[in-house]
Symmetry: C2
Subunit: 308 residues, 2 copies
């Protein structure tokens, strides 16, 4: 039986593996069907991971992590976990071809931003198209950007970007926003934010250097906006499939479908921990996910000690 | 008026400054009377900060942080903050010679492990004497170590070390432990842990390479133990002086005197955030403190937005 199964190989999963094995757990496997590194490896520029002062790509940032985190015995299995369930005092992971048993589990499968399906969106992803204002807003300092979406996240991110950028055009396909009234009020009162409702971005265009602009169809006409950045917030999928049970989920999720945790990354199910973007209130930053992973591993060590 | 005052310049404070300024806050000052870097700069070896695969000293680890974190406008004032209080909608920081006003405050003054006052303790600190099993346990893999203390932390850390080290001698000056009965039971049942009660370590000795052993006075005799590591857990002081008010503290503390926070690092006082070792359930790791700092800064940005 494994001491610990880690599901997901991004910053949270890798750091959990580092801390768990360095803390003396002996059978620790990280299940990640792809290359370790996580969603951040798709980012073109990172400058806010403390200790790495250079502006690097996500791929460069994560390059040294797998080797460092596997130094103390963490194993990586390139397998997908279909589901996890607790059977008596231990966990069973369904890997399709076989079942693996573990004393504890850390789930760090993250969340995936939804694409808006705009022409040019995929092509310019990481080259001006972004799904994270905290990550990429600063690269558009004193420049004009577009925010697409009409929910709380879109409006909050527009407010965040308005502190950094010279102008933010918030584009929403419907007439009204689905956000808290105070947030809507703040957006409408912000001199740097222009709101275009009943409008859709038809195309994102640019060249090899990145985005140059967007074509927007409003209710009256089609206009071109010269912007360097397009921030898309049309929702995200929390990757909790693995936690599904016959009658719901094996642990508590919140109203957004995120895993509820305490400060020690304990979920509602003893022995199951969550770390990184899958958990409630995640700031979606590499350093935060890594911190979560360390925390979850220390909690798992303590949990296993308590089983004896 | 400052947008944000950060009190403390360790990994939490520096990362908070990075995220706050990169997120567009304009007047952000970090108050740190010494050189930025924090307690970790006193550690001789770090190998568990993800992304820094080499074994480095704490000083080396933190070397690049101040410059990186100050790139976006964070100012460092080499001043000590005497106290913080909320006056109406803003905060006032007493700097002795003058008062500074701020819209929000992040406190990250950490905690300080108490010294046991043993001969050789200071001399070998960082060279075998440690106050953190998670940090330094692995450097004594398959070696013998001593743990000093009789509370929950000492016993839990002894259990942690027993997974890594070949033998752990737990030395406590009293007859009984002040720890939960289940933890005491686990310690007593652990074959790798030997318990010496009514015993004190009189001296820690070694050479330039580090600790060689300790001299222990038990109730019957004086013995020498050849160990490479001495882990001291005789309590720690949470550095909350700055949060003291006339009738207690300006925010809620828990039974251990740590600042109570939620997952967004919000304290019980709106606009006041805590990050790093000062907060409840802190894992006392650089990566966790840095994650806290980022989280607290994003919460402060959001809080300030809400003031408008």
């Amino acid at each position: 039986m494994l001491d610990l199964a880690i599901i997901g190989g991004g910053p949270a999963g890798l750091t959990a593996g580092l801390y768990a094995t360095r803390g003396g757990l002996e059978n620790v496997v990280m299940y990640e069907k792809g290359m370790p590194g996580g969603q951040i490896t798709q980012s073109s520029e990172i400058e806010n991971y403390p200790g790495i002062p250079e502006v690097v790509s996500g791929m460069e940032l994560m390059q040294s992590w797998p080797q460092q985190c596997q130094r103390f015995g963490l194993k990586h299995e390139m397998l997908e976990v279909n589901s996890v369930k607790k059977v008596g005092e231990h966990f069973e992971l369904d890997l399709g071809k076989y079942i693996v048993q573990a004393k504890s589990v850390i789930v760090c499968t993250g969340s995936t931003p939804r694409r808006a399906g705009i022409i040019g969106e995929v092509e310019f992803s990481g080259k001006g198209v972004s799904y994270c204002a905290t990550c990429d807003g600063f690269f558009h300092k004193e420049k004009e950007v577009v925010v697409i979406g009409g929910g709380d996240t879109a409006l909050e991110e527009a407010l965040y970007l308005a502190k950094i950028c010279s102008k933010v055009t918030l584009i929403h396909r419907r007439d009204g926003f689905r956000a808290s009234p105070t947030t809507v009020k703040r957006v409408k009162e912000n001199a740097k934010i222009e709101v275009l409702t009943n409008s859709v971005v038809q195309e994102i265009y640019g060249d090899a250097m990145g985005v140059d602009g967007v074509r927007v169809k409003t209710s009256k006409k089609t206009v071109d906006l010269a912007v360097s950045g397009v921030f898309i917030f049309v929702g995200y999928d929390v990757n909790t499939e693995v936690l599904k049970s016959e009658d719901g989920y094996i642990c508590d999720l919140n109203e957004f479908g995120e895993v509820v945790v305490d400060l020690r990354m304990r979920t509602s199910l003893p022995g199951l921990f969550a770390a990184g973007d899958i958990r409630a209130d995640a700031p979606r930053q590499v350093v935060c996910a890594a911190g979560d992973g360390a925390t979850a591993a220390l909690s798992a060590i303590s949990f296993i000690e308590g089983l004896k």
